[in-house]
Structures are given as C-alpha cells and as structure tokens.
C-alpha cells in the first residue's frame, strides 16, 4: 500500500462518523471477519485509523479497494455536499434500450478518449440508481482520488445528479454522459441542494402531490367533546381553502427537503418615488435567496397560514412544478 492509498484511507475514516464505521466496514467485505473483529471500535478515531491502515497493509489492499469503501459510504449517505442536476434532452432512437453493461463500457471509453488518466468506477445501487465515481487526473499526473466526482443517474430517465464537479471537468463529463446514454444534448436543470434524495423525489415526482378529486377522502371523525362544541372557528372555510390551495401547490405530507431557492431579478426598477432609478434604462440586477432547512415545507406553511396570499404566485409555485430552484427573472417572462 503506497502513501496515497494510506492518505486516502485516513481521510475517509475521518469522514465516517464513529457510529457508522463498523457497519460500513462490514459491507465492504475486503477485510476478513477475523480482522474486522480484531478492531476495537470503542477506541479513539485516531487509534482505529492507525490499526485499520495496518490491517489494510497486511491484506495488501490498493487504492482501488479503498475507493470501493468510499463509494459504499457515499451511496449509503448521499445527503452531503452540493448536488447539481442536469437534464438530458433530445434522445436518439435507441436511447430507451441502453442497458447497464453497454452504458458502463460506453461511458468509460468515451471519458478515456476525452481525458487520459481518469479512474472510473460504476456500480448499481439497489433502487436502480447507477452510481459513478470519477477521479480525475491531468494529462500526466495520476488520478486524484481525494477529490472524486460522484454522478447518480437512472437509466432511461432524463435527470443526472452530480456532486463535486469542477468547471474544468464539467464539459468532459457531460459529453461522456450525453454520448453514452444516447442523447444529443444535456443542459443544467437549475436545481441543486444538499440532499440527493430530496432532489430525486422532486424530479421523479415521488412525493405526495395533491390533486382535486371528485371524491375527496372521508374526513377524519372530528372530536366531539364539549370544549370542541363551544369553540368555533369563524373563518374555518377560508382557512380550509388556504390549506387546500397550499397543498395543491406544494404537496402533502413529507416534502422533499430543499434548502434554498434563488431568484435572480434582471428587471427594470419601478418606484414612482425614486425617479433617478426608475429612469435608468439598464435593468436593475439583484438576487433574492430563500433558505430554510426545508424550503417547500416553509412555503407551504406561509401559504396555509395566510402569510403568503393564495393562490400562490407562479414564482413560488414553479419551484415544485418545474422542479428547479434557480430562476432568472427578466421583464415579463420567467425564463431560464
């Protein structure tokens, strides 16, 4: 085991929380059960790391094996770092028949054509997601495993999620993805966030949306105790209406946890009291950022409690509707 592998392992163990270290190592299966048993997980992280490095050295593990461990950890805990979304468009005729083996070969060969010295690892997760780990190297230097890019995609669906991609490598990766999934183009989907699961649920529409129906589900039996009989909400209808509208716009139950939404305004400044600014011809540029631990939940609450007026403005409702959280607003039109 060379120094770079050791370094990689040390960094990785430092990232994995102590409580998860054992289960992650168990899934790795590169160390025998005996060796795993010999590790004492009650010790401090630093000592465990030392022992683990020694064990791996004894088992003659290489960088390749360490990256496997990293991949296991990341696939189990995808909600970290910043994930950006891209959308594949204009599929070729045979795009729907791309299967995993074919995709693996194609992707690797396309990427290697574009850039020498890249290390690519592709694995399929249990929920049909294809996970790709790319470690980039320059023309001469060997791949840098410390800053690996992760890509998640579902074959036959247009969305691709990317983590830790530098602008230098972006065109290379996107081209390889476009070609190997048999599409003609790829574009930014203007959706990003820390939680991969939330982004996926939003785009795959896997959260509970509310649609008006002719046969609404039976209402839960109301509490008929004395106190409820004597307390009456005068505006119950209006408030029920607000709740319904908020639900129809943002969905029901647990919502995908988006952290932020950014609106970039490039519109003319309009304020009758401020003539100097109003008369300027060039647009007034400003950016408005909404952030919260769960933005959609907060917006739903705003709408249902009446802080934001209902029906909800198209600006806010297009976050779940279009599945994006970055908007550029110019005069009259809401465009990318």
């Amino acid at each position: 085991m060379d120094n770079s592998a050791k370094h990689l392992l040390q960094r990785l163990v430092r990232r994995i929380p102590a409580s998860m270290l054992k289960s992650t190592l168990d899934k790795w299966e590169r160390l025998t059960a005996e060796k795993r048993k010999s590790l004492d997980f009650t010790q401090s992280k630093w000592i465990i790391t030392q022992e683990l490095v020694a064990l791996c050295e004894k088992s003659e593990l290489t960088v390749k094996h360490i990256t496997e461990l990293e991949m296991i950890y990341i696939t189990e805990n995808p909600n970290q770092g910043m994930w950006h979304t891209f959308q594949l468009v204009e599929p070729e005729d045979d795009a729907h028949s791309v299967e995993l083996m074919q995709f693996k070969e194609q992707f690797k060969s396309h990427l290697r054509e574009l850039q020498r010295n890249v290390s690519v690892k592709i694995k399929k997760h249990t929920d049909q997601a294809v996970w790709i780990r790319v470690a980039w190297g320059d023309g001469l230097s060997s791949p840098n495993h410390l800053k690996a890019t992760y890509v998640v995609l579902y074959l036959q669906t247009p969305y691709v999620f990317v983590n830790a991609l530098s602008s230098k490598h972006k065109p290379l990766l996107l081209q390889a993805l476009t070609l190997s999934t048999r599409h003609q183009q790829i574009k930014a989907a203007n959706l990003s966030g820390q939680k991969l699961t939330a982004l996926r649920d939003l785009l795959m529409r896997q959260y509970q949306q509310v649609f008006p129906t002719k046969y609404p589900s039976p209402l839960a039996e109301s509490d008929q105790s004395i106190s409820k009989l004597r307390v009456e909400k005068v505006q119950a209808e209006a408030s029920a209406n607000r709740h319904r509208m908020a639900g129809e716009t943002f969905g029901d139950g647990m919502l995908p946890a988006l952290q932020s939404a950014v609106f970039k305004l490039e519109t003319k400044f309009k304020d009758p009291t401020n003539e100097a600014m109003t008369q300027r011809d060039e647009p007034f540029i400003c950016s408005v950022k909404f952030s919260s631990s769960n933005l959609l939940e907060s917006l739903r609450h705003c709408a249902s409690s009446g802080i934001a007026s209902t029906p909800v403005t198209p600006m806010l409702s297009s976050i779940p509707l279009k599945g994006r959280n970055y908007f550029v607003i110019t005069d009259n039109v809401l465009t990318a």
């Binding site: 004597r230 307390v231 909400k233 005068v234 505006q235 209808e237």
Partner: protein, 184 residues
C-alpha cells in the same frame, strides 16, 4: 363592509360569547380550550384570523360580548392586521367590550417602539391591554382567568357593574413619558 355590532342580537341565558382575533392562529386555540372549561357560565368561543367575519355564518353566530385582539409583538404583521381589523367593529364595542392581549413582550426580537405603539393604540381606544405568556399552559390559564373576569362583566352577568364602568378602571392609560425615547 359589514360591521360587527354589540347589540344587534339577543343574548342567551347565562351565556357569554367571546371572539378571539389573532393573525397567527396559534395562541387563540390554547386560550379557547382553557376558556371553555369555565363551569359557572357557558362560554362560547369564536376564533378568527382577522375581521370582517364572513357573512355566511352570520345568522348562526351568537351575540359577541367581548372582542379580544391577540397581538404577537415580535411580528409587525400581527399588529398591522389587528389595526386593520378594528375598522370592522361597531363603535359600541369600544365602550368596554374590546380588549388587547400582547404576547412575547419580553422577547429579544421585539422591535423598539412596537410596544409603545400598541400602548398608544389601546389608550386611544380606551381599551384594556393585557400581557400574556403564550408558551406554557400556566400562561394560558392565567390569561384566560383575566379574560373571563372582563367577559362576565361585558356580557352583563355580574350585577351592579357594566362594561363601561369596568373599562374606565382598567383601560390602558398612556404613561406621561411615552413620547420621550425610553432609555432602558
């Protein structure tokens, strides 16, 4: 514009009706649950976010004896909404049948001047201003108890007293130095 009138309907026997108006709709529910526990008189509570009240259930609504505005001092919107709602009350209510309850008065994020503005408003309208603690059940109980005292008088259940008489004793008065900046 439909005004809420204090004497347009007949009262019920041994019944007092209170209307709690709160923009956030948070404290009012706790308060209502505590208020209806009163056994000596039948207390009916109506909850609203703001005034005017909808016309649809106007028929079934009993005579409102006391209107309470709950104002969260940490939120400007709460104060503004209450101020806007005041327009929909008949002037007859201001003869002792309106009361303000301020919550979160000691909260760190209360804007300076907000409390003074509320005090000024209450003094101007000759209404009492109560302070409540809205986080604990004890807070709800004690404010409910105070409201009940006013409510009983306002609904005419206490002999020899009238709402107007009580309000002349309990109404908020402007402290003489309110126009000066406070130095605390």
């Amino acid at each position: 514009m439909s005004l809420l009138k204090p004497f347009s309907k007949l009262p019920d026997l041994n019944t007092a009706n209170i209307l709690l108006v709160e923009n956030e709709e948070q404290f009012q529910q706790n308060l209502a649950d505590t208020l209806v526990e009163e056994t000596a008189v039948t207390v009916n509570v109506r909850l609203a976010k703001s005034l005017p009240l909808p016309m649809e259930n106007d028929e079934s609504r009993p005579r409102i004896d006391l209107v309470v505005f709950i104002i969260n001092l940490t939120s400007d919107k709460s104060f503004e909404s209450a101020k806007a709602s005041l327009k929909y009350l008949d002037p007859g209510y201001f003869l002792g049948k309106v009361c303000f309850v301020a919550t979160n008065a000691r909260h760190a994020s209360v804007r300076t001047g907000c409390l003074d503005a509320l005090r000024q408003l209450a003094a101007l309208l000759h209404c009492p201003l109560l302070f409540a603690e809205d986080q604990s059940p004890e807070g709800a109980t004690s404010s409910a108890r105070r409201l009940l005292t006013i409510l009983k008088v306002a609904s005419g259940l206490v002999p020899n007293t009238t709402a107007l008489y009580l309000s002349s004793l309990t109404r908020c008065t402007m402290p003489p130095d309110i126009d000066q900046p406070s130095f605390d």
